[in-house]
Symmetry: C2
Subunit: 419 residues, 2 copies
């Protein structure tokens, strides 16, 4: 069954709101075995929505639309849907009673008149009750075309999607569970990966591959293409094995786990802890680590040593060393790593010092020069890297390289800085 | 001139990648005075792309497409564009030389053969050089239809959009500068803002308002609606004055400046510096601060004190105080703020300690309890906050509240924790 996701809202087209709804719905549908053929965003205009519905239904049997169900005058999705299907809007006494109850519960003394129109629903539509807000989800069906309308507020949309829409779609339309595999890698570029993998694969196997570069790493997903007939579980497993074999040493996960989650597992299994000393990355590594729930069990903390004096005062780096080698040097990175290990009583530490730009570069140490050190049980190691891109990219690439080196070090049981 | 933004990439339709490109392009175009009529995302299939180009050009004169320009076999945007315009793909010797140079610079010993196809460009296309990667931007024009192809990697897309595409579009197609005004606020919810603002405005003035909540703050933009005739500069200025007046005390900028940029200006003007001690936010504040180029001039650093011992060892918090009050307490937040001020020899500091969840809450201090302290010249102040949402939202709301308090403190010349 082919699906189109239609986002309704002028705020999207003005770029003031990032359209996270479409991606969320797409991921859930894909995981459940449905093909999203297209995503489309249009303005809050009845004319435009009616036209979009016509075009989309010429390409897919199911449209999931979000937005435009609110109580204000720019919410016209319901009337557009009625016009497209040639139906009227009827007052739903039962839903109105729910609304009255909802407003009473959240402390309104009188019913807000503006919200009365939320109890109007298209004739013969199935009402999907919204436990978190006032706009109901709606399901309209006619001559093999299914239109599902969901509110644009992400929390309300998500609850309705999971509680009502997905169970309905799986029950009604899904024939078989989808098969796919993922190989997540770090330290290799997309073109090198493609070269290594595709050699030795038949055309039909290559067609199963998709490459997803994200934040400097590359995921390889093995699954049937959207436009192709579904591949069987065995073919997918076979290609996944081939891919993982060709990329050995760079595969950190064969499931939907991030590099930091893999590191968390390794540290937890060893009962060990981590600390960091971040100069050029300025807290990016700490932030990524502490994004993970439960990181307090294995992450002791970090020093963001932006000023040189923080390196000497808090991390115990010898001021003479900073003067002699410069704050951006392998020796200082190593001393920072040792300092972080001691200051935080940790088993492992990462330290970074470099030039993220846009200024501060020199002939000898141009922008993008970053020294990374790893300290671990009884040892430490450091190395110079040269990263490209702007300030944000240099910072991100540095943080990922540091995570990669830590991952390699944990696997080796000692600090490793070669990748 | 009407524009459609076309995102090409199966990863979008599978929900693996959030489509941030479309929103970014939309915002830039809108600010430059162009109307985005639709956003569309389609799969990496030549057939599908050709069809989408046909449909989109029936509704708009300009299409900006991103994605599908990489070196792998699922990158088919160029061949689809050639098929749509009836042109061939030619090898561009000059661009190939640039590519060779690029790979040499980033340390490749031999040219990756797979990347050779990036030097193939459609006949009569204008090549927009990509300073950050290997895929060039491309501009194709035929019979009043303009197609601009940009790489999908956000950093590369952004650089090309700003350096090449926008100047071209403005020069070539824009008739008059759009009028709009922005009022950026912190500390008030969207519905409270709407209530305060809309009272006392005529219908025609209310139609100029849009609300853009982002990361816990709300921007109010005053501009003509996409489908309405343009408003004159004077009406917009008048409404902007009214809005700013009604929201006094919460307006941190009347231009496209972030709250941290405003804080940077205030600190720089005073010649003062900042430090931080982050527990529950785990580096989020440091990361946001150091995202800004030039932050090393006023940001000395921070301690991410995830383990209690980091609070006592590095920030000098009395261990007895931690035992008595608990690590999550106003007293410890105040001690952390003082400790950060001293450890980093800074003029101002922010400290946060709280429970971001998903576990660790109690009856007395439920998840979302966060203590924030500000220390400044000779004084400090702290306060308890209760934030809602999941771990990520609690962390983000804490970081924004801390920035708001610092902003208020800098304006007052002394620590302020009331908002």
């Amino acid at each position: 069954m082919d699906v189109i996701i239609l986002t309704i809202g002028s705020e999207i087209l003005k770029g003031r709101t990032i359209n996270t709804n479409a991606g969320y719905i797409a991921a859930k549908l894909y995981a459940a075995g449905f093909n999203v053929r297209q995503e489309r965003a249009v303005a809050d205009s009845e004319e435009t929505i009616v036209r979009a519905l016509g075009e989309c239904f010429s390409q897919a049997e199911l449209i999931i639309a979000t937005g435009g169900l609110g109580p204000t005058r720019d919410d016209v999705t319901k009337s557009a849907a009625c016009r497209y299907f040639g139906r009227g809007l009827l007052f739903d006494q039962e839903y109105f009673a729910r609304l009255e109850d909802y407003f009473r519960r959240i402390g309104y003394e009188r019913f807000p008149e503006r919200s009365r129109n939320q109890a109007y629903v298209p004739e013969r539509a199935k009402v999907l009750p919204n436990s978190r807000g006032t706009a109901p989800g709606l399901l309209l069906e006619d001559a093999g075309k299914v239109l599902i309308l969901l509110p644009g507020v992400p929390g309300e949309m998500k609850a309705l999607l999971e509680e009502e829409v997905l169970p309905y779609l799986i029950e009604r339309f899904r024939r078989e569970e989808p098969h796919s595999a993922v190989v997540r890698t770090v330290g290799l570029g997309e073109s090198v990966i493609a070269e290594r993998i595709e050699e030795g694969l038949a055309e039909i196997q290559t067609a199963l591959l998709s490459y997803y570069p994200h934040s400097g790493m590359v995921d390889i997903v093995i699954a049937s293409a959207i436009d192709a007939p579904p591949a069987d579980r065995e073919s997918i497993a076979q290609v996944a094995e081939h891919v993982a074999g060709r990329l050995e040493g760079h595969v950190y996960a064969r499931e939907e786990k991030s590099l930091w989650e893999v590191i968390a597992d390794l540290l937890t299994a060893r009962g060990e802890t981590l600390a960091a000393a971040e100069s050029c990355t300025g807290g990016l590594i700490s932030k990524s680590v502490t994004d993970l729930a439960g990181s307090s069990r294995w992450f002791n903390g970090s020093v963001v040593s932006y000023a040189d004096r923080a390196k000497t005062d808090l991390l115990g780096v010898d001021p003479a060393l900073v003067r002699r080698q410069g704050a951006v040097s392998e020796e200082v990175a190593l001393a920072m790593a040792r300092g972080a290990l001691e200051a935080f009583h940790a088993d492992w530490s990462l330290a970074l010092t470099g030039i993220a730009g846009p200024s501060g570069g020199s002939q000898e140490k141009p922008i993008g020069t970053v020294f990374i050190a790893v300290a671990g049980p009884g040892k430490q190691a450091g190395r110079r890297f040269q990263f490209g891109g702007d300030r944000a990219q240099i910072r991100q690439r540095s943080a990922i390289k540091a995570a990669e080196l830590l991952w390699r070090s944990l696997l080796a049981g000692q600090p490793v800085v070669d990748s």
